[in-house]
Assembly symmetry: C2
Homo-oligomer: 350 residues x 2
């Protein structure tokens, strides 16, 4: 029921997904207003065997505060959808609804698997010159210590392998420079631990803001404050340049003619940065798979978010992350012990 | 002597500045290799009365570490240029040299005026849909508490008024959302103090990453870690889209013809985001005016940096900032006292 478009985008997203990837023995469990959902299923001529509808009248409003949604949300479509993952009925949940409520209720029902995380981490699939880079956290963990940053690295690596099909994703830590002594203590400690190799994650080192769109690495780890601002700054920059481009190409009859001739090529370019094509941000760190779709996503955008949920649910993502997170405490201790034993090496890099 | 181009960009920058803005009784004091500088002056037919050359053989290399440059830099062109501000011989210094060295030696010679700052704050002039927004710190203060953020606000406001001619610049604090309870304690405390009105700075509230390019406010305040990453992310995004656009417009004969026809309009657009046109990042928080030019700036870029230095030096920037910084301690105490007296108001916003 969530998002700007409700059932048309969600049911349309199911159709879009099945058209692109086939039904693959999947079944879709849709929670919400049965009449509205069935009307969409009929309108789009979808195979009814593909979908099961669970009726509820109750919805979480898009502007409801997370705390309020947690208290009053029981029995809502959002709540029931998450609960169906908890009950083992569904392999994953996808929602275009209220992000704060999705996060809070997911945490309440599914619980965090990475106990150091305050809130689930949100991954952005960032279009780059080389393909897609996974950047996390772009969400809600405003202050992240070294342990959390490494949890992001573990989850981001497993996510990228499962969803973007990269076998040994290379990880970078976002910083203001590439030298060991740059940045604050949290990133430097995460850097030391990842660099130690103890976690068996391919590690590149520090990356800077302009490395994101270059595609320097596959997975970029950062605290949720910086990640959120970087993501929105990039979106703002893209919109700014698009606006200038549009203004330029409509500024005179001559430029309009030029734009018209170049239009097919410009359309190809547009597709590469189409937000719908890269829609779907999983909330990582939960005991279960939860994918957030942009509220404004259309059917093809919602279909893209379903694709991420299916790929994650069909992969060994949860087990793999579970094992690595389980080893984390011991790894951090080992690296710290080695450092205390040989502080001169560390000093030498300053 | 600094930057990728040395004297040609610097002497060329002087010519560019004078051509655009007139000599205005200015005199330019150039420090470095006299023969190389004089050769450029002759080549460009510049009025010799406009320029005084102070010879030195010594230069700070572009890759020298700041600590090294501080120890060994005495008598170098960089050192002497900064020292001429300290001695009252020059009203401002402009350098395209080693940023770390410029920062360290400026701090050593001129000293910080804002004692809470560890290092000078760097301002970026960010092109937006409405003109230019000043964003600071994009440099070296990786962890900034509320007091430092407010110092950035004070300096950014005075800077924007002096350099971009905006009479009452409106300030925003960069955050992950616009509500009072969003973000970490540092931004929330800065928000409370700015909102109190005690500092007589026009304050908008929190802004998000996509507000930068929208031009929502005139001055955006953030810690140097986030600011640096936001700036480089925006640069990377702009370069990414330019690359896609170039690829699109050269992908076929048809699109090449279209691009050729639209070329004049595309050139106008390009000029709006030309890094040379917005070159020049002042290091704020020092007892003196220091402007950093991009190392890669050409003569017109260096001329833009000179413009910023002249405007700052001719304004009441230093006095204005001095007065506001002087009042800061008392203002923070007053706001904190009011808060302690009425904690319920604060609680109510959570």
């Amino acid at each position: 029921m969530g998002g700007d478009h409700g059932p048309p985008a969600v049911v349309g997203g199911v159709r879009d997904y099945v058209r692109r990837h086939g039904a693959q023995n999947l079944k879709f469990l849709l929670h919400g207003d049965e009449a509205a959902i069935q009307a969409e299923i009929a309108r789009l001529h979808l195979d009814p065997a593909l979908i099961e509808v669970r009726h509820t009248d109750k919805v979480v409003a898009m502007d409801e505060k997370p705390a309020q949604a947690m208290r009053r949300g029981k029995g809502s479509s959002l709540w029931n959808a998450i609960d169906s993952v908890k009950q083992g009925e569904a392999g994953a949940v996808v929602s275009a609804g209220n992000t704060g409520a999705l996060m809070a209720i997911s945490k309440l029902i599914l619980r965090m698997s990475a106990e150091a995380l305050e809130r689930p981490a949100i991954v952005a699939g960032w279009p780059t010159l080389k393909g897609i880079t996974a950047v996390l956290d772009v969400g809600a963990n405003v202050e992240s210590d070294a342990r959390q940053l490494i949890q992001f690295a573990i989850m981001g690596e497993a996510y990228h392998a499962a969803v973007n099909g990269v076998e040994k994703p290379v990880i970078g830590v976002l910083n203001v420079g590439s030298e060991d002594m740059k940045g604050h203590e949290e990133v430097r400690e995460a850097h030391r631990i990842l660099r130690s190799g103890e976690l068996d994650l391919p590690y590149y080192g520090f990356v800077e803001g302009d490395d994101i769109a270059k595609g320097t690495v596959d997975v970029i780890v950062t605290d949720g404050f910086t990640g959120n601002i970087a993501l929105k700054t990039a979106e703002g920059t893209a919109r700014f340049i698009s606006t200038l481009l549009k203004e330029a190409l409509t500024s005179s009859v001559q430029s309009k003619i030029g734009a018209l001739i170049a239009l097919p090529a410009l359309k190809v370019m547009r597709r590469r940065i189409d937000p719908n094509a890269i829609n779907g941000g999983p909330l990582l760190g939960l005991n279960g798979i939860v994918v957030k779709s942009h509220g404004g996503a259309d059917a093809s955008g919602f279909g893209a978010a379903i694709r991420i949920a299916v790929d994650l649910a069909r992969s060994d993502y949860l087990e793999k992350v579970g094992v690595s997170l389980g080893r984390l405490g011991e790894v951090i201790e080992a690296v710290e012990a080695a450092q205390t034993a040989a502080p001169s090496t560390e000093e030498a890099t300053k």
